[in-house]
Subunit: 185 residues, 2 copies
Amino acid sequence: MTQMQRSDARSNRDRVLTAARETFAAAGLEAPVREVARRAELGVATVYRHFPTRTDLVTAVLAERVEACRRQMRRALDDTDPWRALSGMIEEFADRQIHDRALNEALLAPGGAAGAFAEQRREHVEAMNTLVARARAAGRLREGVGPEDVRAGLLAIAALRNLPSSTNAQVIGRLAELLRAGLRA
Amino acid sequence: MTQMQRSDARSNRDRVLTAARETFAAAGLEAPVREVARRAELGVATVYRHFPTRTDLVTAVLAERVEACRRQMRRALDDTDPWRALSGMIEEFADRQIHDRALNEALLAPGGAAGAFAEQRREHVEAMNTLVARARAAGRLREGVGPEDVRAGLLAIAALRNLPSSTNAQVIGRLAELLRAGLRA
DNA sequence: ACGGAAACGGAACGGATGTTCCGCCCCGGA
DNA sequence: TCCGGGGCGGAACATCCGTTCCGTTTCCGT
């Protein structure tokens, strides 16, 4: 059923997805659907045929980013050095935020357009708890630091990404370093 | 000239301001003007007569908060203990963000509705530089930490305030503590 | 008490955005 | 090559928001 559609329809669906990726990354998740359609050089109706509502389109784009996040977390869990795993995770997260304006909204608005990712969020939280527990067991964490602190720090990095400033990249980098210093024993 | 206006006009102006304070505090600075008018039990035109544009209304509300910030910074400059001054400033800033949903947008959007506070912003930055320089001279700061790091941290706290989550207060508190730990020698 | 200027309320305008409608067009099977 | 039905584009509809217009009401000096 799924594969017996017209070839132009299939290719247009890809063009919409590509355009949506680019648009959301550059202008944020609130970018108008018309903007996506324009970038794809298609009519709005075509976008809506492939993604019945704006939320479906956003969800489709976010799914890819969330999956990338999941892979990254897997790698961190495989790291044998507890502090390097945790610290590197923070740094990669910061890098990702710098280059991708869409991802943070998936993390920042649990009830919003990204409500579909509750399961992945839970998995992510669990993995983070493991990373923190390992670093703590290895004595690399400051007294009193827990998973909530790491989570607060990541949220802060993500929230910073929303600012319209052009110096965001530097500010985010500094903040990530500052957070690592605050977590370290 | 200013005081020879009709009494109803003067009292309505106050009602608008009060309603704006309440509305913006509860719903954020993007709350519709109609909402302010409704809360004041006045027509929209009345709001617009006293504050020609939405920005003027926002600015009027923010001016009060900015002034409070200025007084707080003055107190920090009077503190004889450099680290306590800097650390306390961060904590008070975090507290203020928790209780005031409007203030951060004055700090986060230099070109936005709060463009009118450029002078105060400059003064604020200068005072912060002084606080950091003193703390550094007293040897209370970690190697490599500068005013930009403190500013990044405050920005992060302010940005966090924008999240719709109900656990913001705790998260902001933790973040503030984390930042202090990251700055300390 | 009265009259006019100032203030008021709410409908209306203009622009943005999500979504739907509909006539035209093109793919793909015969 | 021809035809039918799904696909397409863009205008149109509905909603929301900032702002303005204008007929009506209210204050206040005389």
